[in-house]
């Protein structure tokens, strides 16, 4: 490993410290890490996520200094932050939009993982830690959205916590336990605030495990071919990827900032500017956009318990994905059929999001009008969501397992270095 001589403490102090707490060595090993030379921009989203996570934590801590978790005061305290706290008008949308940006980045990061087979051996644990992070992000985002105590906060919380009532026998006691009472109320708001404050630190800890689990097998890469010769196939992470990540982070921040400063409410629902009112149910209760695909699955099943299981199952299936995808070839670049099904899968997820934003009785397209009432009839979002849910599951439990056995992959490059040498145009 001539290109990677390792940390060599020079000064007396460094040697002294290295023998006691090799923290400089840790940093060195983390950043002078052999990284495949062919990573594309899809590999920058991990770093982007780390930056947004820090931004969320910092803005969140400051918001928590001014926020009041009480049903009578929470709504007003958000307005107080936006109107009277120095730079509160900037911190509040940074945090709210930041949540959306975090999910945008994490979805890209996860799709990237599935496409390039990053979840497969030897990176299963890395992937599973990722899925746990994702679950915690979902919980954190949900509880955060409740805090402003607007109409969507309250009713979203009511709908989602009520789901736990679907479980037989324990359902009712479980929901009452979650609420700390007999409805979503002050105790609920307080515990959500407490958990919303602490969970991001749990996520931070898991991100450290995630990076640790990354540094044992090393990065996957767009060819999916393992590193064979460290000198030829890899480059030290610093400066090559620190600078590439930095560029990508700045570009991503431009998107982030455009939302924060110019359209801070674009991803928010107007009803959340109405103080929570347990007596008035909004006509359409919709969650944040990043939950919409799961919301569509929930409503696609006529039975409540069935819907809940379908929804949680959609995340649970990710845990076993490394074993469902039976193909020995990691990257779908060399799996034409898998690639096709993958693209349909991405579209299905977006379609499910679309269905989640609509009411199930709305029509995707009309085929005619009802003879008796004159109302349009056609293909409803309910059925749209059902078909897509079916595809979502089929992709994981049928298509990927079977394809791995029957598909004939294209030829793969012999090595990472060979793949970049022939100066062929890069293909995702």
């Amino acid at each position: 490993m001539s290109s990677y001589p390792g940390y060599d403490p020079k000064s007396g102090f460094e040697k002294w410290l290295d023998a006691r707490l090799p923290i400089i060595r840790l940093g060195y090993d983390t950043f002078i890490f052999p990284t495949p030379r062919n990573l594309n921009y899809w590999w920058t989203f991990g770093a982007i996520l780390a930056v947004i996570l820090m931004s969320q934590i910092i803005t969140g801590i400051i918001l928590a200094m001014h926020y009041v978790p009480h049903v009578d005061l929470a709504f007003d305290s958000i307005q107080h932050i936006k109107r009277d706290v120095n730079f509160g008008w900037m911190l509040q949308p940074m945090h709210a939009v930041g949540a959306s940006m975090m999910f945008l980045a994490v979805y890209i990061h996860m799709f990237r993982g599935i496409y390039y087979g990053s979840h497969k051996s030897p990176r299963e644990v890395l992937w599973i830690v990722g899925v746990v992070i994702y679950l915690l992000m979902m919980a954190t985002g949900f509880m955060g959205y409740v805090l402003p105590w607007g109409q969507m906060s309250f009713w979203g919380a009511t709908v989602i916590t009520n789901l736990f009532g679907a479980f037989p026998l324990v359902g009712e006691s479980l929901t009452n336990w979650l609420w700390g009472g007999f409805a979503v109320d002050d105790p609920t708001l307080n515990r959500f605030f407490s958990l919303h404050f602490v969970l991001p630190f749990a996520i931070l800890g898991l991100v450290m495990l995630h990076v640790w689990a990354l540094h044992v097998p090393g990065n996957n890469n767009p060819t999916g071919v393992s590193v064979k010769n460290v000198d030829k196939d890899t480059l030290p992470f610093h400066p090559y990827y620190t600078i590439k990540d930095a560029f990508a982070i700045v570009v991503f921040l431009m998107v982030f900032v455009a939302f924060v400063f110019f359209i801070p409410d674009a991803l928010n629902h107007p009803d959340n500017y109405i103080r929570a009112n347990p007596l008035v149910t909004p006509p359409h209760i919709v969650p944040e956009w990043y939950y919409l695909p799961f919301y569509a699955m929930l409503r696609a099943v006529p039975n409540k318990l069935g819907g809940v299981i379908t929804m949680f199952g959609a995340i649970a299936v990710l845990f076993v994905l490394p074993w469902l995808d039976t193909s020995k070839v990691r990257s779908m670049r060399y799996r034409p059929l898998a690639k096709l099904f993958f693209i349909i899968f991405v579209l299905a997820c977006i379609g499910l999001g679309w269905a989640g934003a609509k009411s199930p009785t709305d029509l995707v397209f009309a085929t005619g009008t009802d003879a008796a009432t004159g109302a349009p009839v056609g293909f409803s979002f309910l059925w749209f969501a059902r078909i897509l849910t079916l595809y979502y599951y089929a992709f994981f439990v049928v298509i990927l397992p079977v394809l791995g056995l029957v598909e004939k992959p294209k030829d793969r490059p012999e090595s990472i270095q060979k793949s970049v040498l022939k100066s062929a145009p890069e293909e995702a």
Binding site: R37, R83, P239, Y240, F247, F261, H284, G353, W354, A357
Partner: protein, 268 residues
């Protein structure tokens, strides 16, 4: 930077998904398309319109609507309708002091333990027309006039919606619509029947700048005022936004240049 076709497609679909996913279904009556000075990434509040709008608010709307989250001083703060560079501290702005003095607030208890009334000061919140929700409903045939503090943000297409609502009253309900007792017909309101009686009529207020007080003009002005009330930091936010964007753009160019320089001699 080589972005493959697949990459571009996926980015485009993801962006589209974001937009489609969040555009919630709006099935209300059609809105009038009016333009406002504060729209778009360069938009600012038309100060004269916001001042006129405040007059309309004060002479008509305050009879029923509260605006609890705003203080009178807000009117004179940077970005506000009566901001005056000579008096950056709104509490010392004579216009704001004069406006405050027009309101009466309850204060106390005094040293005897009694509540008392006094003219408002700039630091006071805007007083509410009713003591509580029940009183407000009782005076409005059961309907609750919503608070103005964030009302424009709380409605889809807030400015267009409120403008349409204020200008779509009709004296007679169309045939087949049975108006309930105390209700008024308004084509822009969901269901057509609204508890609020028409709040604007020709020459309701007399504008000191000579602008003709038509219903449309007053509606447009009061919406400008309400939009400011809902989002008073908008101008500051957009101004800062441009500085941040330019900063990041230059930063991105530098990073891209450095990236190219670092990678110049390696094949990848």
């Amino acid at each position: 930077m080589r972005l493959s076709k697949l990459t571009a497609t996926v980015i485009a679909t993801a962006a589209l998904g974001l937009i489609v996913g969040t555009a919630s279904a709006s099935e209300g009556p059609e809105l009038k398309h009016v333009e406002f000075s504060f729209e778009g990434v360069f938009g600012t509040y038309d100060k004269a319109a916001a001042q006129r709008g405040f007059q309309v608010y004060q002479e008509s709307c305050t009879n029923c609507h509260s605006m609890k989250l705003l203080s009178i001083r807000n009117l004179g703060e940077a970005g506000g309708p009566f901001y005056d560079e000579e008096h950056p501290n709104a509490n010392e702005n004579p216009v704001i002091k004069a406006i405050a003095a027009m309101f009466t607030v309850t204060d106390g208890p005094d040293s005897e333990g009694d509540m008392f009334e006094r003219p408002a000061k700039p630091f006071d919140r805007f007083p509410s027309p009713f003591a509580n929700e029940q009183a407000a409903r009782a005076s409005n045939g059961g309907a609750l006039p919503p608070d103005f503090s964030v009302l424009v943000s709380a409605r889809e297409h807030g400015p267009q919606y409120i403008y349409s609502l204020l200008t779509s009253y009709e004296d007679d309900a169309p045939e087949g619509v049975e108006l309930r007792d105390g209700m008024n017909y308004n084509a822009a309101f969901k269901g057509g029947q609204i508890g609020m009686p028409p709040p604007l009529f020709e020459d309701l207020v007399e504008y000191s700048d000579g602008t003709k007080a038509s219903v449309e003009q007053m509606a447009h002005d009061v919406v400008t005022f309400m939009a400011w009330a809902s989002d008073p930091k908008m101008e500051e936010r957009k101004r800062m936004g441009w500085m941040v964007m330019i900063y990041l753009f230059i930063f991105a160019l530098l990073m891209y240049g450095s990236y190219k320089a670092v990678w110049r001699d390696v094949e990848h």
